[in-house]
Symmetry: C2
Subunit: 467 residues, 2 copies
């Protein structure tokens, strides 16, 4: 690729820009965690890690990197699952986790302005303390908001409230040549030229470095109630979801889960789940401004579920019960991870009336490929997380069976009108599947856009649509 | 630009592709309407108009145009206000108005799939007949949905429901070289590469020709109630808006209007407006699933308005009254147009707590520039429509004063953190103001993106960020 290797002169320049040696890490100072993310199996060390504190610092380093053709990799909390924040070409890694200030809560415009390193859980807690609501709710609460924007993270509440994209009003971005610019703003409507803001959202740190975000807030719903609904079979549970949607009651969340994943979570958390009677569950959440309002909605849905063969409808209206259910749900990824030696995942999204076909296919795939697969996910928005488990397989067998399972799962998703990733992104690990799923002209357009933003290809190379 | 002029051979080829001479118009057959849109003052005839019926027809013509470097201009109903659908370089105009089929209502995925020439009013009526709701609600109901997507049209309900962009799940597009492709799909979440779908939305027919759209629907709210609230002064009316937002009751719409515009509308419609006691009004809409639910919300807002000096709160809960108020609101543009010899408009959007500064500025600008300006708009989302009226001015005076008023209005909007266009787009008429309002690097990126999609610059040239 013709990148310049980082040398002592570069490090000296970087140290001079940052002026604080503890924020510039090299060689043995670079923690092993900076060489990978949470799952992808992708591993590569940066030559230097810069823990930036401002857009100006990032701008200066990016400008220098651009002039000298040194690759730069943006990184938040490193909780990604597809290798987006791994420095494939080494070079400079810019870590945004110290840029963690909440800059402004604007109650008249219902916006909050934050630095990219603010954690999702910090953001939620802050706005809820002020009686506001930031709806995107990915399972990983210790991700940064910059990372959430970069993958267009979705989460549980997408059924009713949409995804991260729907809550980003404006961005400050450092472009690959070091220019600081802005896309969007505090305005509610905008038809002023091409939508560069939405192009940046979900671009996984390949088009620019997000240094500030203006996010949209909603009033905090005054009341939240969940229903845990046991079904005799997973099929019956999932077949009920399109009927719920069709009934025009829109829950905040519709999750499905199976007994074995729940048991993994109990073991992982050391805490009992409130129900054990069934093989499969739907977990529904409703919110609103009064108990009556919510009851009107969920009564209808509860009736519908019972008609479809649900064994029971358990109402969770205490904070304690609510927490025990959703804590288990939040722990699924880690719990499954703890139940095996190693794993990889698919994050497909299909139209929501095809979820059952996809889940059944994944279930049967276990026998077909002779590998364990556990899945759970967002039945209400069609986004499934399936984990393929290594268990005691040797490396060669694991590679073979994993690849076969992945190929088949993505092919099936495509056949059902789905997409490769609902919320985790493409990064490095899922490139091949993106390539197989999209029209080649779409991939060409993506690479041309990348070139328009980054003609020297220094920012996070080898990701998404690039070879 | 080196475009090829359309000749007899080209016409023969086009007639052969279309196979129906009534759908290929040349010379004297081209209605004068095809040379302009509703407002921009931009005028230029195409050499040939093709009334396409399928993506395949458009693909063949585009491919031919690409090979021969003939400019192509997409057109819907021609209701634009900034010249986006005017054929600046002549060439081929492709009119989508015969592609007006509703292709599928999918109740399980809450989507509707339509051709681009379906009119907004046809779409609304169709989905409401099926008890669904397509929230975007621009004033111009006879626009095509393809046009709405191309300008990212906003409308009255943006306060609660957002804009067109928020309701587009997938697009079928013919690219400038004739390739037919798809962006997005029926899925609710998507993190599979760069967001080409949102890049297409709002690109005013410069990046591709939209031939099919998958739109998101919501359940139809069962009840809608409006409040008409007279205030002694416009300032008091508009100052109340941020307080309503801050009170966390989110109406569907918050519009402001002044007596003189209401009188224009009465004259234009030949129908009395239900109230005449005040100089300024707020018009609020609330929706929900029961009268009680809505009452709980609007009671609080009504109280707040009275505290802020409102003269009265008129509740419109009959269909007849509802229609008389909103029909007047819908007629404002035409009514103002009818009250003068000629006019031009600004469609600025500012943060909603700066609306009053903007409105006051526009009011004072009348004296400053010595020209009449009438404004109304979406107080709840910060999007103002101000009309600058020619009246009896001669051409030279009109040009001078219009330019001065425009320059000053856009400069003020920028100073308030606003954008050039909230929902009407940039097209040809507002290019200069876009250029003055955005960082130059943003404009450069837009032009590079245009080049990535359309290296020969044949699709709708001279629009948005192009010279």
């Amino acid at each position: 690729m013709g990148y310049k290797k980082v040398d002592e002169k570069d490090i000296t320049y970087i140290r001079q820009v940052i002026g604080d040696d503890e924020r510039v890490l090299t060689n043995g100072d670079i923690n092993e965690e900076y060489s990978h993310d949470e799952l992808s199996g992708t591993s590569s060390y940066p030559d230097v890690v810069v823990r930036a504190k401002s857009a100006e610092e990032i701008s200066k380093i990016m400008k220098y990197a651009y002039e000298h053709t040194i690759p730069v990799t943006p990184r938040g909390a490193g909780t990604g699952l597809v290798g987006s924040s791994v420095a494939m070409e080494h070079g400079i890694m810019i870590d945004s986790s110290l840029m963690n200030q909440i800059l402004e809560l604007d109650e008249e415009n219902l916006t909050i302005t934050v630095e990219p390193g603010v954690l999702l859980m910090e953001l939620s807690a802050y706005v809820e303390d002020h009686d506001f609501f930031y709806p995107p709710d990915p399972g990983e609460k210790s991700a940064t908001i910059g990372g959430n924007i970069s993958t267009n993270a979705g989460g549980m509440r997408a059924v009713k409230y949409g995804v991260t994209r729907d809550y980003v009003r404006g961005l400050e971005v450092v472009l690959p040549d070091g220019t600081i610019t802005e896309f969007g703003g505090k305005v509610v409507k905008n038809s002023s030229g091409y939508d560069l803001k939405d192009l940046m959202i979900g671009s996984e740190g390949t088009l620019g470095f997000i240094t500030k975000a203006i996010l949209k807030l909603l009033p905090l719903p005054k009341k939240v109630i969940s229903l845990l609904i046991p079904f005799p079979t997973l099929e019956q549970a999932i077949d009920t979801v399109p009927l719920i949607i069709k009934s025009k009651s829109i829950p905040t969340a519709i999750e499905f889960m199976q007994r074995e994943v729940i048991m993994d979570a109990e073991k992982y958390l050391g805490k009992a789940f409130p129900d054990h009677q069934a093989d499969a569950y739907l977990l529904l959440k409703f919110d609103g401004n009064s108990v009556e309002e919510i009851e009107n909605t969920y009564d209808q849905v509860a009736k519908l579920c019972l008609e479809q063969g649900a064994l029971d409808v358990l109402i969770s209206d205490t904070e304690e019960r609510e927490e025990s259910i959703w804590k288990a749900r939040g722990a699924f990824l880690e719990a499954i991870k703890g139940s095996t030696t190693y794993m990889d995942e698919v994050d497909v999204v299909v139209p929501r009336n095809r979820v059952n076909e996809m889940v059944t296919y994944l279930h049967d795939l276990q026998k077909d490929v002779n590998i364990r697969i556990k899945s759970f996910g967002h039945a209400g928005d069609g986004n499934l997380h399936a984990y393929i488990l290594k268990d005691q397989l040797n490396e060669q067998e694991w590679e073979n069976r994993l690849n076969e399972a992945m190929d088949k799962a993505y092919e099936k998703a495509k056949e059902l009108g789905g997409q490769v990733s609902g919320e985790h992104g493409i990064g490095y690990a899922k490139k091949q599947y993106l390539k197989e799923s999209l029209p080649s002209v779409d991939l060409q357009l993506m690479n041309k856009i990348k070139q328009a933003f980054d003609p020297k290809n220094i920012l996070n190379p080898h990701k998404i649509a690039q070879v």
